[in-house]
């Protein structure tokens, strides 16, 4: 086990350049010194060397820093020097500013020390109790290494949002296909298999063919049409031409900037409104806030944790939501427009692909027809889809607007397609086929397209159901993840609460309070509530009923419980520093604290400072009673001066030096040392009454 042999400090805080060493000799140290004698200088030195900062200076107030205010005020240009000598049975290592050649058993010790969870100062005792719940949770974060879980949560959340977007797009696509089919068949209302059968049967009736009773009979009906067409010789070429004309017309029908224009308009209106509001309006936050306040019957704001009047806050949030209803609706509009625009572009792409296929089937070289206009269209549609799929926030309105030209009536691309249709139609008209044959071909083409369209709708329905199932699974997985994290953290808090309660009860046995409980709250930001019981009152903020002394011991119990938790994660790191933490406790409680420390923390190397001489004496008695005197170096700072810093020299040392001086040195030197010895003797006499 790594232990500290000594801490040497020079030119830092209250310790002058001449330097002072605090000898541990691998034991714990009990350090007594009156106020302002430099006890905390050793604590600051530990923190500076092991953590790279001093909490009482760095980050405490603007302009304060350990770089600037750490050095002794008379250090001049000299840099502070702090070193710790570590030892275990295998090595002795002196660590100063240079940290090369650290022995491997020391590395985990230093790594754990850097987390800075081993020092409790008097001024920090109430920090955990007094702080806001969200800061309390932040304080506990080092004990909750959840970065990886957070990444998984974010990933599952993004996957859930993508899955939801896919449902919206699939739904818009289905609506569009239904609309197309309704339009082409002249059917109003819901599209059903029966309505399709009727529409197809009507078409067949127009050319004198028997009706069908189910869509599966379409291929039979097409076969009958083909038999009749065979009487007119080879109708393959006009058939393919009509198919190409039909697919090109369908493409032309689908080509419309409408959905994209709507997307641009709603997106622009949304952005203008948000800009006019001068700030981003988080309706979701208000919505969720109202839910949290209601569900948890909260009396504090989910975000800032300040006390609130729940009903007034809900009313105010609701009023704000109402006043922003227009903005909320714009958001919903824009989101719906986006899904519809994506679906519309995909429909255009599908039509273009069908047109390409129909044109390819023609044998274009023979007919001198080029697929180029359709190819060009497809390429532009791909670019457009890539742009709008980025989502509302990233949508580049101007870029999209300028790329829309090809979709507008009269555009070069659209005119070129229309010209292809006319050209193909002229070719059909020039073919020597009677009207009856053309009518049959047209019917054949129509019912084939209906069958194809129906397959598309069925496939779109399957896609919609699949997207819905996927979104549902994604939602479930995400919610279960949140639950799992909350439960595990709460269990950890429960263990921590139990340990705090155990320590607190050791300090206050047979007193009717305790029941310390830390609770995780996820509303707004992650936060931790602290609750305690006091006689018949349970689940209360301890500040409501506890005395200052009880709050002090609660603060110490919390710190010690956290320190033990930290030790479990880093068993090799045994240092515990308690800087004058007992101030408002009576003797009985101070004695219990001493017993607790000596018994339950006997495997820690402790630096315990106090300004209370009586407690210092008690602590030594308790050491003897607990038979652990050999584990402690009990030190007294006799006085502090700005020139010499804390005086840790023992009277016995001075007596030895004096003896040596008496035989060999001058009267002046002897007088000086005798004066110092006398000073110490007088001080001891003062304490001994």
């Amino acid at each position: 086990m790594v232990r500290i042999r000594r801490l040497d400090v020079a030119g830092f805080r209250g310790i002058p350049q001449s330097g002072v060493g605090l000898i541990f000799d691998k034991k714990s140290v009990l350090l007594f010194g009156e106020n302002g004698t430099g006890k905390s200088s050793f604590v600051d030195a530990f923190e500076r060397l092991l953590c790279g900062r001093v909490a009482t200076l760095d980050g405490r107030a603007q302009g304060l820093s350990s770089d600037r205010h750490g050095p002794h005020i008379r250090a001049g240009v000299n840099r502070p020097s702090i070193s710790i000598v570590f030892a275990n049975p295998e090595f002795t290592y002196s660590m100063g500013d240079e940290t090369s050649g650290i022995p491997s058993p020391l590395a985990p010790y230093l790594k754990a020390a850097k987390e800075n969870l081993f020092i409790l100062r008097r001024r920090d005792v109430l920090n955990f109790i007094e702080t806001q719940p969200r800061d309390r949770y932040a304080f506990l974060r080092p004990f909750l290494p959840l970065t990886g879980v957070q990444e998984v949560e974010n990933s599952l959340k993004q996957a859930k949002e993508s899955a939801t977007r896919e449902v919206e797009i699939a739904s818009a696509r289905l609506r569009q296909l239904d609309d197309d089919m309704n339009k082409s068949l002249g059917i109003a209302g819901e599209l059903t298999e029966a309505s399709l059968v009727k529409a197809i049967s009507d078409s067949l009736g127009e050319v004198g063919h028997p009706p069908i009773s189910a869509l599966e009979e379409i291929s039979g009906a097409v076969g009958l049409l083909d038999q009749e067409l065979a009487r007119f010789g080879d109708t393959a070429i006009p058939g393919r031409l009509l198919s190409a004309i039909s697919s090109l017309r369908e493409l032309l029908d689908h080509i419309s900037p409408g959905s994209i224009t709507r997307l641009l308009a709603t997106c622009k209106a949304l952005r203008d409104k948000e800009a006019a509001e001068g700030k981003v309006f988080y309706d979701r936050v208000l919505d969720d806030g109202i839910k949290w306040i209601r569900a948890e019957n909260r009396r504090a704001c989910p975000l800032c944790e300040q006390p609130i009047d729940a009903s007034a806050t809900i009313a105010s949030a609701q009023a704000r939501l109402d006043s922003m209803r227009e903005l909320i609706e714009l958001r919903l509009d824009a989101s719906a427009s986006l899904s519809e625009a994506i679906a519309a572009v995909r429909t255009m792409k599908d039509s273009a692909a069908r047109a390409m296929k129909a044109l390819a089937a023609l044998g274009l070289a023979d007919l001198n027809i080029s697929t180029l206009p359709v190819e060009e269209f497809s390429t532009k549609l791909f670019s457009l889809e890539r742009e709008i799929i980025k989502g509302l926030t990233s949508l580049q309105l101007e870029a999209v607007e300028s790329s829309l030209i090809f979709l507008r009536d009269g555009s070069r691309e659209k005119s070129s397609l229309a010209e292809r249709v006319s050209s193909l139609q002229r070719t059909v008209n020039a073919l020597p086929s009677p009207d009856k044959a053309r009518q049959l071909l047209s019917t054949r083409q129509r019912i084939t397209r209906v069958a194809e369209g129906w397959n598309q709708i069925r496939s779109a329905k399957v896609s919609y159901r699949a997207a819905t199932a996927k979104a549902s699974q994604a939602e479930t997985v995400y919610l279960r993840t949140l639950e799992a994290r909350k439960e595990v953290v709460q269990e950890l808090f429960d263990k921590l609460s139990a340990e705090i309660g155990r320590l607190y009860n050791r300090l206050h046995p047979d007193e009717s309070h305790g029941g310390i409980r830390l609770e995780v709250r996820e509303a707004g930001q992650a936060s931790a509530n602290l609750r305690a019981s006091f006689y018949e009152r349970t689940n209360e903020d301890p500040r409501a009923y506890y005395s200052d002394a009880h709050l002090d011991t609660l603060g110490i119990s919390i710190f010690l419980a956290l320190r033990r938790l930290h030790r479990e994660r880093h068993p090799e790191f045994s240092l515990l520093v308690l800087d004058d933490v007992l101030t408002s406790n009576d003797t009985a409680h101070a004695v219990r604290f001493s017993e607790l420390l000596l018994n339950d923390f006997s495997d820690y190397q402790v630096l315990l400072t106090t300004h209370d001489r009586i407690w210092y004496e008690h602590f030594q008695d308790i050491q003897a009673r607990c038979r652990v005197s050999a584990n402690y170096n009990n030190k007294v700072i006799h006085k502090w001066t700005i020139e010499e810093g804390p005086d840790l020299r023992e009277p016995e040392d001075e007596r030895e030096v004096l003896k040596e001086l008496l035989t060999n040195r001058s009267a002046g030197e002897i007088t000086s040392m005798a004066g110092r010895l006398l000073e110490h003797i007088l001080q001891e006499m003062r304490y001994s009454g």
Partner: protein
């Protein structure tokens, strides 16, 4: 108190346990998510989406 070193593992173990017990989540999807966890790719949304997609496809809905 138990060691908290593996708190992340505890959370993910608990998640898998919950998913296995959830009748609305298919066992195949849980296996896929466990596989992603083993390969350290559960934090990649596209991999997760792919798992959902495969699951739906194998479920025969697609």
């Amino acid at each position: 108190m138990d060691a908290v070193k593996s708190i992340e593992d505890e959370v993910l173990d608990r998640l898998m346990e919950k998913l296995r017990a959830d009748q609305s989540v298919s066992p195949n999807l849980v296996s896929r998510l466990e596989e992603l966890r083993r390969s350290g790719t559960l934090s990649q949304p596209e991999k997760v989406l792919q798992a959902y997609r495969q699951e739906v496809m194998e479920d025969g809905s697609d």
